[in-house]
Every structure is written in structure tokens, then in C-alpha cells.
Amino acid sequence: MSSHIVSESLTESIEEETGLEEVIQLQDVGVRYRVASESVSTFKEYMIRRFQGEIKMRDFWALHEVNLNIFAGEMFGLIGPNGAGKSTLLKLVARVMRPTKGRVIVKGRVAPLIEFGAGFHPDLTGRENIFLNGALLGFTNEEMQEKFDRIVDFAELWDFIDVPLRNYSSGMSARLGFAVATDVEPDILIVDEILSVGDESFQRKSFERMTKFRDMGATIILVSHIMETITTLCHRAALIDQGHIQLIGEVDEVVESYRGSQNE
């Protein structure tokens, strides 16, 4: 398995050269969904079919034998086709899911930029939703009070902040969600294809914020389908396909390989 050999020696050499710590480690990680071959949603149906010996469960491995080490301060790219397992991997690091197999170790405070506006309720105002969303991210009331002005400034929503969210355009909700989620000072940032949200000026602001995080020394995992973003921002990257890591290495190398496989 050449990918693992590359990974090991690269890991060792990075450690030797820089003495940097691994902040994210995935050791032989697997994520398995048990899917019934037919949809059985009711208890009654389940019992009947069970009785008839007809339930067949299929194992779907969203991730399989994943070994990955990410170092402090790195900007790490994660690329691969749709359904490859990228989001699942991010969710493992964000503690949303536990691995079925293997071990996940994460050192530091994690800010997930995975789903914006999670928990947004349409009947509540922008202001109320900011506090709700902040609570979901694990912040306390005091922390949210402190952050409130900055968040609304970034989202440029002062005129609408006391209006129910149902009256917001999708762009406005997205900006609000993004603003709440990125007003953080994390050690680790996980970013799932968010840079395509909003109009140009907002995208520019997002990009600036991302670079600011990187310059502050945060560790960042970035998932994107836009190769230019990956090559511009990232140092190293990993290619995932069908739940397996195909390649880990310097970003240009990995992107090349991915482009190559796409053109087959």
C-alpha cells in the first residue's frame, strides 16, 4: 500500500524537521452503516420480516482503514469525488460521530464550519437565532454577548437583525450562519466547501477570514471541489475515494493525481 508508506515517511520527516505535534490522528478508522436491503421503518414490519427471516442487512463502509496524521498549524486539503467519505471524515473529527472501528484523537478546540445555520428556527429573529446557534456550538451566554456585535457586523445584517428568519433570503441566512460559526479562535478548524456561499464581496471576506485563521497558526482541514482553492491555501492534502485514502502528500502531487483519475 504505497499510500501508507508515503504517509509514514512524510510524517516522520515532518516531525523531525519541525518538531510539530500531531493534533489530529486517525488510526485504522472505519465507519460502517448498517443498511437494511429494503426499507423497514415500522416495528410491525420489522417483526414480521424478522420472523420470516427476510431481513438482510448490508454493510456500507463509508470509511475504511483510514490512517491520517495532521500537524499543528497545517492547512490540510481533503479532496475526492462526491460520496467518497470526506464529510464523514470531517464529522469524526468534529465529534459528531464516533468511528465504528479504530481510533480518532483530536487535540485542541475544534470549530466546525460544516453546516451553517444548524438549528436556525424560522420563527425566531436573527438576534435570537444567533444566540441559539452559538449555544449549539458550545458557547455560553456571556461569550455570545461579547461576540454579538462582531457577528452582525461581519454579516452586514444590522437592518434585519430583529426580523424573523423566515423573512431572510437564503443568502442572508447563509451569511448569518457563516458569521456565527467563524467568530471563533479555535485551535482546529474544519471547513466543508463553504467558500462558495454568498456574493463576491462576501466570498472575499470569507477568504480573508480563512487566511487570517491560517496566519494565526490554527490547524485547518479544508474540503473543496475547487482545486485552485486547495492548491493556493494548502500545504498537504489527501485524496479519498470510496472510503479509502488513495494518496497523502504535497498538495500539488495529490491534486495532479486526482485530476488524472478524473480524466480517465
Binding site: Y33, R34, S41, T42, F43, K44, Y46, K91, L92, A94, R95, V96, M97, R98, P99, R103, V104, I105, V106, K107, G108, R109, V110, P112, I114, E115, A118, G119, H121, D123, L124, E128, F131, L132, A135, L136, L137, G138, F139, T140, N141, P164, E185, D187, M216, G217, A218
Partner: protein, 277 residues
């Protein structure tokens, strides 16, 4: 950056007891519970014209109907049947609504668990919080009704937090149990709602224990945990008596046991929820 002395480390292999971890997590996320309860109450208030008043009007309306129709059949020798029914209804509604909401929040809002990490018990605990607020609000019409029909309100009313605490513990335990089961089978939600209705009729909410024939009395009563909890609730308010120690101890035992079982069952399975939603 945050000071490194406090760098949190997550290691999926090192799992303490899920139950204990979850308890610590829920305490850490207490502000989230406040926000959830706030959201429940605010959205209810915003949608209807009467809003918060419905919390009080609903049991009041049910009580009026039940009193008009049934006071002679079920009231037995109860004085102030209206207040008897209302006090029972308030306790019952608290239990039924909290457990039902816990289940529905998890089933419908569970997709949230797939997007962001929050303690799995958040939904059940916040459902309980909302239920508690509704319970406290509905004590107001109870007191008013008691004043109107001249059922004496005694100083013993200060004991009311005790039965409320036990009811809350019991409701949380049951809520965690049914919501965990509902994650696996969609029709648990339906079955539970039907079960709740049957359970209510088996509990001394609208009828008084003395109208039961001797034969059934011990069966229905002794085996039904809600009997003890509801009677304990009525003691300080409706009967105006200091709660009897054995009743308190039995209720405490029921509440603690149910909460323990529910919590253990739920936290034992909660890792799988993110896979199942």
C-alpha cells in the same frame, strides 16, 4: 490562542462511562438547554394569538368538561371534584407532554445530531424544562379554581417542589427511554401516544381511588407508578396535608430508579443515533 493548559483532548478510544460523560456534557451545555426551552416557549407565543395563555386555558378547559360530565360518576365523595381533576390533570399533562416532546424532538430534530456535536440528552432535558415552565404556569388557574369553589389552600403548599421534583425525574427517565426506542422504530411514537391515553385512564387523574371496586384497587394502584406520584402531588395542594413519609419514599424510589434506568439505556445507545437518523 487559548492557553494550552486547557487544551481539550478528544480520544475516541478512551471512553469513560457513556453515562457519566453525558452528564458532564449536559452540564457544560446548560446554556443550550436554556436556549432550547426559550425557543420552544417563544415560538409557541409567536404563533398563536393567545400564546402563553393556552398553557393555562388548555387544562382548564378539559377540567370544565370533565367536571360537568363526570363529577357524580367519578367524584365519589370528593368535595371540590373540579379541583381534584385539575390538580391531577396538571401533574399528568406535565408527565405526558415532557415525555412526548422529548421523543418528538429527538425524532424530528435528530438530524441536528448529524451536523453538529451536542449532548444527546439535550432534547429530553430541554423538553423537561419546557414542561416544567408549563407546569408552574398552570398552577395559577389551579389556585384560582380552588379559591372559587372554596377548597382550602393550606400552608402545606410549600411542600409542592418535592412531588414536582419526583415527577420531573420520572418524566425524564421515561422520556429518555421512549425517545431512544423511537430512534429505531418509527411507530414507537404512535404506540406511545396510545399507551399514554390508556395509562391516563388507569391513573387517578379523573377518578378517585375510592370508587374503584376493592378487587381492582390494589392491582391498578400498586402497580402504577403514576398513582404514587400523582397522589404525592395532590397531598400538599388539594388535600392540604403534609405528605406521608412512606409515600414520599416510594415516590423517591420510583423516580430515582426510572431516571437511572432511562439515562443508562439512552446513553448506552446514543452513539448510534448519528448513524441512524
Amino acid at each position: 490562542m487559548k492557553d494550552t493548559n486547557q487544551t481539550p483532548i478528544y480520544d475516541s478510544a478512551r471512553q469513560g462511562t457513556a453515562a457519566w460523560d453525558e452528564l458532564q456534557a449536559i452540564i457544560k451545555y446548560r446554556y443550550l438547554i436554556v436556549q432550547f426551552v426559550r425557543r420552544d416557549i417563544l415560538t409557541r407565543y409567536k404563533r398563536s394569538s393567545l400564546g402563553v395563555a393556552w398553557t393555562m386555558l388548555n387544562p382548564l378547559g378539559t377540567m370544565l368538561i370533565l367536571t360537568l360530565v363526570f363529577s357524580r360518576a367519578f367524584g365519589g365523595s370528593q368535595e371540590g371534584y373540579a379541583a381534584y381533576v385539575l390538580s391531577g390533570l396538571i401533574a399528568w399533562n406535565f408527565f405526558a407532554q415532557s415525555t412526548n416532546a422529548a421523543m418528538l424532538h429527538l425524532v424530528w430534530g435528530g438530524s441536528l445530531l448529524r451536523k453538529i456535536y451536542i449532548p444527546r440528552t439535550s432534547f429530553a432535558v430541554s423538553a423537561l424544562g419546557t414542561g416544567l415552565i408549563n407546569l408552574l404556569l398552570s398552577l395559577i388557574p389551579l389556585v384560582i379554581v380552588m379559591l372559587i369553589i372554596r377548597v382550602p389552600i393550606r400552608w402545606t403548599i410549600i411542600f409542592i417542589p418535592i412531588p414536582i421534583l419526583f415527577l420531573a425525574m420520572f418524566a425524564l427517565g421515561i422520556g429518555l427511554l421512549v425517545s431512544a426506542m423511537a430512534m429505531y422504530y418509527a411507530d414507537v411514537a404512535e404506540m406511545y401516544q396510545i399507551g399514554l391515553t390508556a395509562w391516563m385512564y388507569l391513573s387517578p387523574v379523573i377518578w378517585s381511588p375510592e370508587i374503584l371496586p376493592e378487587l381492582y384497587r390494589s392491582w391498578i394502584i400498586r402497580l402504577n407508578p403514576m398513582y404514587y406520584l400523582i397522589e404525592l402531588f395532590r397531598m400538599p395542594i388539594y388535600y392540604g396535608e403534609v405528605p406521608d413519609l412512606s409515600l414520599v419514599l416510594i415516590s423517591a424510589g420510583i423516580a430515582t430508579f426510572t431516571l437511572f434506568v432511562g439515562w443508562m439505556y439512552f446513553t448506552g445507545r446514543s452513539d448510534e443515533f448519528a448513524y441512524r437518523v
